[in-house]
């Protein structure tokens, strides 16, 4: 029957639309389901995963010492030339010459956070930090020197 089909078509169509409206109406009436995170306001409580790859940092201990030997493994592992290791020769008190880093230059604007340098590092001197707020007004500020001024290599790391 044509008329029967016609009517059932209309009824089915309208009921499918009403089902959809019930779903959206449910969410309208239940503000508790809202999932918005008010980002700059919730900075204090914002939980970033500790593994989040935000930038490369070089951890220093309380004596201002790091673990980087200047082996350039990270520089070789980097696909983009983000890291540049500038080495110098330090003379130890016994008069022995020892290779050490002068500066570990890290260019954040080139970095793709691929983590290959951290994996390549034999002495775990660098790691990824979960900081993701990198915006600066001057592009040159994105080029960072990772070792702090006056820092030196921790004892016992070869």
């Amino acid at each position: 029957m044509f008329l029967k089909e016609y009517i059932s078509e209309v009824v089915n169509g309208v009921s499918s639309l009403l089902k959809g409206m019930r779903k959206t109406g449910y969410y309208f009436a239940h503000p508790k389901e809202i999932i918005t995170e008010q980002y700059p306001d919730n900075r204090a409580t914002l939980l970033m995963s500790d593994r989040f790859k935000g930038e490369v940092v070089m951890p220093h201990d309380e004596n201002n010492e790091h673990a980087c030997t200047g082996c350039t493994a990270c520089e070789l592992a980097c696909p983009n030339g983000t890291i540049k290791v500038v080495t110098k020769f330090e003379v130890s008190p016994e008069g022995k010459k020892k290779k050490a880093i002068d500066a570990l230059v890290y260019r954040l604007e080139l970095c793709t956070m691929c983590n290959l340098c951290v994996v390549a590092c034999p002495s775990d001197a660098i790691k990824m930090a979960p900081n993701f707020e990198h915006s600066v007004f001057d592009r040159t500020k994105l080029t960072k020197v990772l070792n702090q001024t006056g820092s030196k290599i921790r004892e016992g790391i070869e």
């Binding site: 409206m21 779903k23 959206t24 309208f28 918005t36």
Partner: protein
Amino acid sequence: MFSLEGITTYVQDWLFMKFNPTLALAMECVIVILLAISLFAILGLVLVLMERKVAAHIQIRLGPNRVGPGGMFQTVADTLKLIMKEGLVPDMADKFLFNLAPFVVMMVGMLLLAPIAFAKNFQIWDINIGVLYISSVSSLSVIGILMAGWASNNKYSLLGAMRSGAQIVSYELSAGFAVLTIVVLTGSLQLSDIVNAQQNGWWIFKGHIPAVIAFVLYIIAVTAETNRAPFDLAEAESELTAGFHTEYSGMRFALFFLAEYINIFIVCAIGATLFFGGWMPLHIGNWEAFNHIMDYIPSSVWFMGKTFFLIFLIMWFRWTFPRLRVDQLLNLEWKYLLPISLFNLLLVAVIAILGWHF
């Protein structure tokens, strides 16, 4: 009792007491124009904010919440931005029509305000062919849209305007038929008569099945007529970027945007008047106590409450349904809505003759 009725009579008496009748009439006109324009501005701000909030809550978001408490002044900030923006006119566009189009659309909205009864005895012009006036004037807005689409010298605009033309012309029919059912039940084209006929119950209850069908048809048809989703083909974002107002910016765009919301308000106000008794409070048969309590709520609150409920309904549609395709849109009108509304009109005529409605 607090009512807008008292204020209008007071103002009118005072004016006629102080000035001669011609001057008083002129001053009344100025007041009405000012009120209409400020109503436009306020409605635009409120409805845009409402749309954004409704959309946000349906989409499990918060919506605007930065400017002012709860984002109250967001639309004010938006308006300021739009006013300060440069209004670009595309090269090789028809500059006269391009500039005129937003005003045409806007003026249609303003004209439609005239016969609407906002409260008891609070009406700009109680014309005796009110319903006819509304259906004839409201179809003028398509001219503005076609003008905008043609004058923009943009292919997207042209396609959007053509779609809009086909759409508004077809949906005008079933909107008209839905309105006619109420006219048949009331026996008058005058809006104040229609409201008064609902003294002891709104048409949607009194006219039962045909009135409900007419209401559903009316809501669908006016959603299409105001170019709202799921019938927003004229500005189908994913297909035509922004349809007929692709090339508009700044204040001209704001006028289109405002006109869209004003049109929604007007069609919902008319819907509320026809089916929900306008400013008439909810009265149930002979429950005297209940009716008295309802009478204490001011008539303007009743009117606004009903209108905003219908507006919410239309917004709810928008944020739930996908868009129709252009041929399906016309199919829906000519194959479903029009036959059903013709049948419904017949049904309502029979009911009105036999007196089966309450």
